[in-house]
Every structure is written in structure tokens, then in C-alpha cells.
Symmetry: C2
Subunit: 627 residues, 2 copies
């Protein structure tokens, strides 16, 4: 008993020290006096103090490690950004080959680090690595693999294009796709087998490695987004000059020599359609790696889910959501095709196409707004169990959703201002206004819906805890239970509380405290029993099953909403990703803000908007699995 209590207290103190900044040095300084005043054995104290010292030494570089590596990463990106600015000027000093060489160097450095990491991990196979269950779900990695494959095709096309224009292109432009392909393959391997790792050794060095990977991918995203914006702008200018709107001499960004193969134009055109996937691949990878970076040195509880997930139950009752969603998706693809054809034809069809786009958008935004609001109302009608344990993935999801929504919001507000202030009177003036306002509302409520859903306690967890409750009641009479419980917190025992992934400090402390009180036979035991057993030791009530059925119906509705929103957001990703960007074509904003400023706004906002849609699809899919 005494031993188990000592163990409990040491674990407790050390976790406290790590997470909440108890002054460890202070403890060390004054320990002698307490050991003389108390009659505790010296040996015990020594072990205790060694443990504390080790934590102190580890704690210091960790704190600095974050800011050291974070600043390094930012500067890596900013140097790349400076190159990008130089390239986008099309001046004499900075050429594409300089940017590409810089990115290639970064990718090679990342490759070296990943190799080192993987080899080292393979050697330590006997040691059970700590994992964060929340990082990089398997469906996310699956989706990424598809995007990575499309990126590989893109690399192949790039190499093909280089072969055609070999005479006048720098060799950096063929090294880049080759290194990028190797980088993509190794990175996908890394994501599959190591993204959940919680790094505990060489922390400062690993921080640099991971943040290097994060910012390399972020730079690849920036550079891809810049190239794509350039492509779209060129297409827009070509269209305008074809319609006779502007006196525009088309500057070709193609190389200044003849293609030696027949496939050059095919490669160039296909690249245009593959860019969106490549861009999304890099931004999602960098978000996942960022979570890995945040996890370095964290205290993670590794335990397995004992309750198998039931995918069958998830799809039951899924009717309205998928049907409406697919209708929206099909309609959007129709609109996309019609828009792309009509906007290039005549001035009249152009106006009509833009008008159609806004009307379609209003219907879509309206229904998405209604769906999100319905979900929020459902959350308000009932008291849903909430899970607010620490979870860096979820925190990042939330911040990324609100952060990337800024792109779309700034476009919307510019649209609102332009529609109200405009002196011209195109037919789509007021539909543009309505569309912009609905877009703001839709994002506002969709974000709210996603965030509230992610903070919901998972159905599995509830069932799991209910099952554990029953088990707990059966075993409640057994002796010695308290001591086995003590170890269930620190080691990965079979009986674990219903929170998963990460240690919940307060919960752990509470549980331990109850046990130590039990173990030392405290008086007023009825009170303690009440306090301690509430989370685990009460059998389900008969009334609960009725409310459970109602809850289940509500969960079905929520799942339908999530599926509908997934499909709508995919549709809204498709539109701008494949060139349907009326923000360029409608002329209202251009009149109010001028071509230069408006293009600058779009170059900033469009990539963010695309990322928002992709990210909200991923988050909503998680909501679907979660509810």
C-alpha cells in the first residue's frame, strides 16, 4: 500500500511540474531541510530528486526549442517569399530557376532529415513509440495519398515539358520535378508511419527538422498558389482582349524556343488542371506536420479503443443529406461547364453567365446556411455532452477554419462595398450583393457548427464509458481494486477512463485523489464515494434509453447535415479551382478598387478560399465520423 501511494505521488508531482510550472528549482534548493525534519528514508528522496532534476534539464531547451525553431521556419519561408516576389516582377535579376533551386535545396534537406528519422526509429523498434491518436486520421492520410499521386503525375508532366523545351530551359527546372517526386513519395511514407509519433528524444533537433518540413511544404503551397494565380490572371487577360475589352498584348510566360516534341502544349494545359490538387496536398501536409511539431515533448496517454467503431450504424438514416448534396454537386458542375463556355463567347452571354453563377450561389449558400443553423439549433435544444480535453489537432482545425475564412470574407466585403458604391448598373449588381452577404453568413455559421461539433463528446466514447460503468459496478466489491486503478493511469492498462489520446490533468488528479483517500480509509467515506464514483459507478437508468433514442435521431439529422455540407463545400472548391472566378469577370470590384489593388486582393484571398473549402470538407468529414 505504502509503495503504491509513493508511486502515485511521484507520478503526480512530476506531471504537475511538467505541465503547470511548479517551481522545480525551488523544490531542489530547499529539499535538505525537509529531509531532516521528516524521517523519510534518504534513498526515496534521492530517487525523487533525480527525477525532478532530469525534468528541469529537459524542460529548459524545450521552451526555447519552440521559439528557436519557429523563428527559423518563418525566416525560411520569408526568404522564399522574397524570391517569389522577385519572380512575379518578371525582372532581370530573379528568375524562376533561382526560386526553384532554393525550394529544391529545402526539399533535399527535408529528405535528409526524414531519412535520419526513419532509420533511427527503425533501429529502436523494440521501444513502443508514443502516439497521438488524434493526429492524421487514416482517411485523411488516404485522401492525401490520392493528392500525392496527382502531384506525381504533375511532376511527370513537368519533366515532359522540360524535355520539349530543353534547349532554352535551365537544368534547375528538371532537377526540381525529380526531387519533388522523391520528396512526395518519401513524405507520404513518413505521414503513413510516423505522423502520430510523439517525439521525446533529441527534441530540439527534431523540432528543427519538423518545422523545416512544415515551412518547406508551406513554401511549396505559396509558390504553387502564385503560379496558379498567374495562370488565372493570364487566362482572364486573354479573355478580355478576345472580347475587345482591353488593349492587351499577351505576354507569354512560355519559354522562348520551339518545342521539340509534340506534347508540349498538352503538358502545359494539363498542368493547369493538376495545380489545384498539388496545392491542396502541400497545405494539408504542412498542417499535419505542424500538429506533429506541437506534439513534440507532450505527455500523451497511449491506449487503444476497446470498442470497435460501427460504420454500419453511421450510414443508417443517411438519405436527405447525400441526395441533396449530390444534387448540389451535379448542379454546380453544370454551372461550371456552362460558365466556362459562356463567359468567353459574347458580351451578352458573359453577363448572363455571371448572373447565373450568382443565382446558383445564392441558392447554394442559402441552403448551406439553413443546414448549419439547423445543426446549431439541434445543439441548443438538448444538453450535449462536451469534450474539452486538450487536443492540438482540434485547436489547429479551429484556428485554420477561422483564419482561412478571412480570404473569402475580404472578397465578400469588397463585393458588398463595390455593389453598393458602384456607378454602373449591371444586371448582377444586387445578386452580387446578396451572394456576398450570404457567403459571409454561411461561413460564420458553418464554422460555428463545425467547431461545436468537434467539441462534442464522441458517441463511441459515451457507449464505452457506459459499458465501463457496468463493469465497474460488477467489480466494485473487489478488494485491491484501488491499487490496480492507480497504475491504469500511468501505464497502458486495460481499464481506462473514457477520454482518449491525451492526459486530462485534472481528471487524472481527481481520480488519483479518490483512490488515495480510499486506500487510506478516510472517514466520511460516503461523501468521497459520491465524489469519486460519479463518472464511473452508476448503472444506466431506464429513462436514459428513451432519451438515447431521441438523441440517436438527432445524431442522424446531424450526420445528414454533415454529409450535405461536405458535398456542398466540395462543389464550392471545384468552382474556383477549375477557373470559374466571377470575381475577375464581373467588373464591379475592379471599378471600385482598380485593377491592381483588386488583383492583389484576389491573389491573397483566392488561395485561402480554396484552402478553406478543402479544409472544411476534411473537418466536416471528421464531424460526420464524430457525431
Amino acid at each position: 500500500m505504502k509503495d503504491s501511494l509513493r508511486d502515485l505521488n511521484i507520478t503526480e508531482l512530476s506531471t504537475m511540474e511538467e505541465d503547470s510550472g511548479l517551481d522545480i528549482m525551488y523544490l531542489n534548493k530547499h529539499r535538505h531541510s525537509s529531509s531532516t525534519s521528516s524521517s523519510a528514508p534518504e534513498r526515496e528522496n534521492d530517487g525523487f530528486n533525480k527525477r525532478k532534476l532530469r525534468i528541469t534539464m529537459q524542460d529548459y531547451p524545450r521552451k526555447s526549442g519552440q521559439i528557436l525553431s519557429g523563428q527559423y521556419g518563418i525566416n525560411l519561408l520569408l526568404l522564399g517569399f522574397a524570391f517569389m516576389l522577385g519572380v512575379s516582377y518578371h525582372g532581370h535579376s530573379i528568375k524562376e530557376k533561382h526560386l526553384v533551386s532554393y525550394i529544391t535545396t529545402l526539399m533535399l534537406m527535408q529528405l535528409l532529415w526524414m531519412l535520419w528519422y526513419i532509420v533511427r526509429k527503425d533501429r529502436q523498434k523494440h521501444a513502443l513509440p508514443e502516439k497521438d491518436a488524434h493526429a492524421g486520421t487514416s482517411w485523411l492520410r488516404g485522401g492525401l495519398t490520392i493528392l500525392a499521386m496527382l502531384s506525381l503525375i504533375m511532376d511527370a508532366f513537368r519533366i515532359g515539358k522540360y524535355v520539349g523545351y530543353k534547349a532554352c530551359l535551365s537544368s534547375a527546372l528538371v532537377v526540381y520535378p525529380v526531387v519533388h517526386a522523391i520528396h512526395t513519395i518519401s513524405q507520404v511514407y513518413f505521414l503513413w508511419f510516423h505522423i502520430k509519433d510523439v517525439i521525446k528524444t533529441f527534441e530540439t533537433f527534431e523540432r528543427f527538422g519538423v518545422i523545416h518540413a512544415v515551412f518547406t511544404n508551406l513554401l511549396l503551397w505559396c509558390s504553387g498558389a502564385m503560379t496558379e494565380s498567374q495562370n488565372v490572371l493570364d487566362a482572364h487577360k486573354k479573355r478580355l482582349s478576345a472580347l475587345g475589352f482591353m488593349n492587351y498584348t499577351y505576354e507569354s510566360h512560355e519559354p522562348y524556343c520551339n518545342c521539340t516534341t509534340k506534347a508540349c502544349s498538352m503538358f502545359s494545359n494539363s498542368l493547369y488542371y493538376l495545380y489545384p490538387f498539388n496545392i491542396e496536398y502541400h497545405i494539408i501536409v504542412s498542417a499535419m506536420l505542424f500538429v506533429m511539431w506541437k506534439n513534440i515533448g507532450r505527455t500523451i496517454e497511449h491506449h487503444q479503443h476497446h470498442i470497435k467503431k460501427k460504420p454500419v450504424a453511421k450510414t443508417a438514416g443517411l438519405v436527405a443529406g447525400p441526395i441533396l448534396g449530390f444534387v448540389a454537386l451535379a448542379g454546380t458542375i453544370g454551372v461550371l461547364v456552362v460558365y466556362l463556355i459562356q463567359v468567353e463567347a459574347t458580351l451578352e452571354t458573359r453577363t448572363w453567365a455571371i448572373h447565373m453563377f450568382y443565382q446558383h450561389g445564392i441558392v447554394l449558400m442559402g441552403s448551406m446556411f439553413i443546414a448549419s443553423t439547423l445543426g446549431l439549433i439541434i445543439y441548443r435544444t438538448d444538453s450535449w455532452p462536451q469534450d474539452s480535453s486538450k487536443n492540438p489537432s482540434r485547436q489547429l482545425d479551429k484556428e485554420l477554419l477561422c483564419g482561412s475564412a478571412i480570404g473569402s470574407w475580404i472578397m465578400s466585403w469588397c463585393g458588398v462595398v463595390a455593389a453598393v458604391a458602384s456607378h454602373s448598373e449591371p444586371s448582377y449588381r444586387w445578386t452580387n450583393l446578396a451572394y456576398s452577404l450570404l457567403l459571409v453568413l454561411e461561413k460564420y455559421f458553418q464554422n460555428l457548427f463545425i467547431v461545436e461539433s468537434l467539441y462534442l463528446k464522441q458517441e463511441d466514447e459515451e457507449e464505452g464509458s457506459a459499458r465501463e460503468v457496468e463493469e465497474g459496478v460488477e467489480r466494485s466489491g473487489e478488494a485491491g481494486m484501488s491499487s490496480s486503478r492507480i497504475f491504469s493511469v500511468t501505464s497502458s492498462s486495460t481499464q481506462v477512463p473514457p477520454y482518449d489520446g491525451i492526459i486530462n490533468q485534472a481528471f487524472v488528479t481527481q481520480e488519483k485523489m479518490c483512490i488515495s483517500l480510499d486506500g487510506s480509509q478516510v472517514k466520511n467515506s460516503h461523501l468521497y464515494q459520491y465524489q469519486c464514483q460519479t463518472p464511473q459507478d452508476s448503472p444506466p437508468l431506464p429513462a436514459v434509453s428513451r432519451t438515447a433514442a431521441a438523441l440517436n435521431r438527432k445524431r442522424q439529422i446531424l450526420r445528414n447535415i454533415a454529409v450535405f455540407l461536405v458535398l456542398c463545400n466540395s462543389a464550392l472548391w471545384l468552382l474556383p479551382a477549375f477557373g470559374c472566378r466571377p470575381q475577375y469577370d464581373n467588373g464591379l470590384e475592379q471599378e471600385t478598387f482598380g485593377f491592381a489593388i483588386w488583383t492583389m486582393v484576389l491573389n491573397f484571398a483566392m488561395p485561402l478560399n480554396l484552402f478553406y473549402r478543402m479544409h472544411s470538407v476534411a473537418s466536416l468529414f471528421e464531424v460526420f465520423c464524430h457525431v
Copy 2:
């Protein structure tokens, strides 16, 4: 005894529920069974459950409140940003009066909210409000008051300018400075008396109020920064055309009518020099209000410092830092004056002035880099006690430092790229390169130094805890101490642990646990005494005083470094704030990136850089008080 134990546990559970996501609904659902199985009095359970229910109801809107209000604030800013873009285009649709009217409306809304808040607080004077000791230190508020006064002078000048041009200016342009003056006065009052408040009532509404204030000030900052950039750009263009560099027809942004008073040009010119202060005022206010927003609904321990701060000891040994700092400041002011005169004279003096600027910069950056590194080495040579308790002010300080450094870093990296890639060969080409690289390093290490210093445990706290230790030993024999200790955690008793400001969850739990174990006469008491008394019950050792003297010397060096860096950063704020911006004049970056892109970069980076310097001055002053 029983009562006190119950109190302890209720407090404990409720804080756990609030902060760490224990499943409260789950507790509610299953409470009946536990009350039937245990023999506890029903009355006690009822009170307990009511408390839990209340927490559930409060907890839900709080979670959503953050994201609801945060999104509202972002959209407020983005709409203002859309207006700003329209104004900066100088088109026909959006005029300055539109932007100014929008900002005036926001300020009036903020005034209404502040009035409501102050009146309500005054009525509840009997209730002791909770305060966050870390938010808005008095010297920060003092500094802000000076900035606010300069803003008031600026408002007076604006009104004066309006009077002169009354014939051709919109009345919105006189309403704005009047409302701004009222807004400034009320806001300073609010900051003095309410910025430390921890809001616990009407949380969702208050969140909207505070975030509205945050984003109103942020918008005022953005709008001020935009106007200032415009001024600097105009001055630059005027200079260039005077030197015969460009064929530039000076577009006046002055009103198109004659001034009816004699003071118009005086007002216009003075406004130019007052802008920097006004801009800094708004950004610092918005950072302070943001901390207030983060504090809404937090659990804060209110206790007073019993140990008076000794300002005398702080200034002892302060020689090298201030002297070197004032030399740097005086030198910088000299450089500023010479630069402003020489850059407008002839082409030759212009080149010479830029060269001088970079040489001065290299010396300054080099010494700041050495000072920061010295500080970091001192931290590495000894194990300094660290304080990592939760503290939103400090967290925000850290993020703002790294975030605003981006502005300066992007300029530096562009400078590096331009210096390397340039085809022209001005005399300052390589000094520009060295200056840019040193700037990156200086910010990198200065940030590291500031952040590590802020995470240091304060000297006062250490002394305070040592004194408390002695008091604790004297009283340790008294009976009934345990129960008095219990209340010292929840009420503001005289005896408090050495962490200040915010409840340290783990610490509190630990202390409570020890007491409850004492109270219930546990066996193995020597072990518990050791565990519980380590932080408090050991008298200082004789050896400590020797190391304390060494530590004190090191603290003196650190204080000198902090003062030196404060003065250097002030100097580096002065330079760009008063028009010494060689980034416009040197021509290297303009050659590499083009005028449009480079101006865009400067418009983004310059305000951030100014904010960085001001913010690092504030942070370093805090470091000085802290060490």
C-alpha cells in the same frame, strides 16, 4: 471538519469541470443511482448538483462565445479594410468620408458599450471584482496616457484643418476627430480602471463588447498606418522628382479649395509628425483589450503582493547599459537629422546618407546582437528558476513579438536577395547586405532573450516565498491550520502560495490534497509531510546566500542589457517613424522587385516594424522590472 471537506471538494470539482472538460452532463445523467447507492444526505447532493447545472449552462455559451465574437470582430475589420482599399485607389466610388463615417460609427458603438459597462460596474461596487494582476501594468497605462494626449492634440489639429477647408470638406471629417477625442478620453479612463477586470457576468454580451473595442482600435491602427504610408510615399515621390529621377506630377491629396485660415499648412505638417504616436496608441490598446477578452470567464486568484517592490535595488549597478544606450540614442538622432537633410540635397549626398545609415545600423545591430547573446549565455550558465504558469498577457506578448518581427524580416530578406542579385553597383550594396543579415539575427536573438526573460521567475516572488516559508515554520505547530489553509485557496486570505495572478490548477490540487490527507489523519504521515511541505516548510540554507550574491550580480548584468536594448529599440523606432526610410531611397530593392511590388511590401511591413520596435520596448521594460 466535515463541512470544510465538503467545501473543498465542491470547489475542486467545479474548477475541474470548468477548466479541463470533465463530462458534466454525464455526471448529471447518472447522479440518481449514486445517491441511492450511497447514504449521503439528499440536501447536500442537491446543492452540489445545482452548482453543476449552473456550470453546464454557463459553460456552453462561453465556448461558442469565443468563436461567435471572434468572427464578428474579424468581419468588422474586414469591412473597414474593404473601405480602406477603396480609399487608397482614389477612385470615384469610395471617398475618405465613407471610411471615416464607418469608423465613427464603430467608435460610437464602443462608447455606448463602455458607458454601459462602467455604469454597471459602479453600481456593483460592493462586489469585489476579480482582477488579473498581469494585465496592463501601471507603467504601460502611463505610457498610453501620454500617447493618448498626443492623439488628442492631433484631433485638435484635424479640427483646425477642417475649419480652414470647411467649404470643400464633408462634415464627416469634423465629426470624426470630435468623436475620436471623446473616444480617446473614455478609453483611457476605461483602461485605467477596468482593464484588469475579469468579466464573469453577461459573458457572451461582454465578449462582443470587448472584441468590438479590440477591432475598432485595430481598424484605427490600420487606417492610420495606411495614411502614414501614403504620406511617406508622397514625400518620397516629391523628393525623387526634385532630384530629377522621375517625371512625376505631384497629385495633391489636399482639399480642392483655398484655406480660409493661416494655419492650414502648419496643421497638415504637424499631423505628419503626430501620426506615429497615434498609431502606436491604437495598436497597444487593442493588444491590452485582447488580453481582457481572453480573460473573460477565467478563474483568477485575487491576492495582493505583500512584499513591496524595491525600486532602489533595481537601479543599483545600472551604469554600462544606460550609458551605452543613451550614446546609441543620441547617435541615432544625429543620423536621423543628417539623413533627412542630406537625402534631399544632391545625388551624391543622397548616396552618402544611405551609406551612413547602413554603417550606423550595422554598429547598432551588432551591439544589440551581442547584448542579447550575452543575456542568453547568462541564462545558460546557471539554472534559473522558471515560471510557466498560465498567463495570457505573456503568451500574447510572445506571439506579437514573433508575429510583428515578420514585417522587418521580409524587408531584410528582400534586401538580401536584392543586394545579391542586383546588376547595379552602388557603394552601399554590401553594407545593405550586412545590415539586412544582422537585422535578421538581431531580431532572432532579441526575441529569444525577451521570451526567456519573461518566463523567468520574478525576484520578488522568490523572496516572497522565502519569507512565507519562515512564517509557515513558526506557525506549523498551531492546531486547526489545515482548515484555515483550505479557505486560503478559495478566498483572498493573507497566506497565499508564491504564484501570483492566476490559479495554478496542479498546485492548488496538490495543496488541497495534502490538507485533506492531514485532516483525515492518514498513516505514513512522514511521506505526506515531505510531499506537501516541500514548497513551503524549509528554512533557507546558508549556502544559498553565496549563490544568491552571484545570482544578484548576474541579474544586474541582465538589467543593464535590458536598459540598453530598450534605448536601442526606441532609437530604431524613431528612425522610420520620422521619415528615415532608406528602403524607399536606396533603389536596390526597387530594381529587383519593381516599384509596385516593393511599395506593397513596404506598406505591409513598415507598420509592423514600427509596432515591433514599440512592443519590444514595452516587453524589455517588463523584462527590466521582472529580472
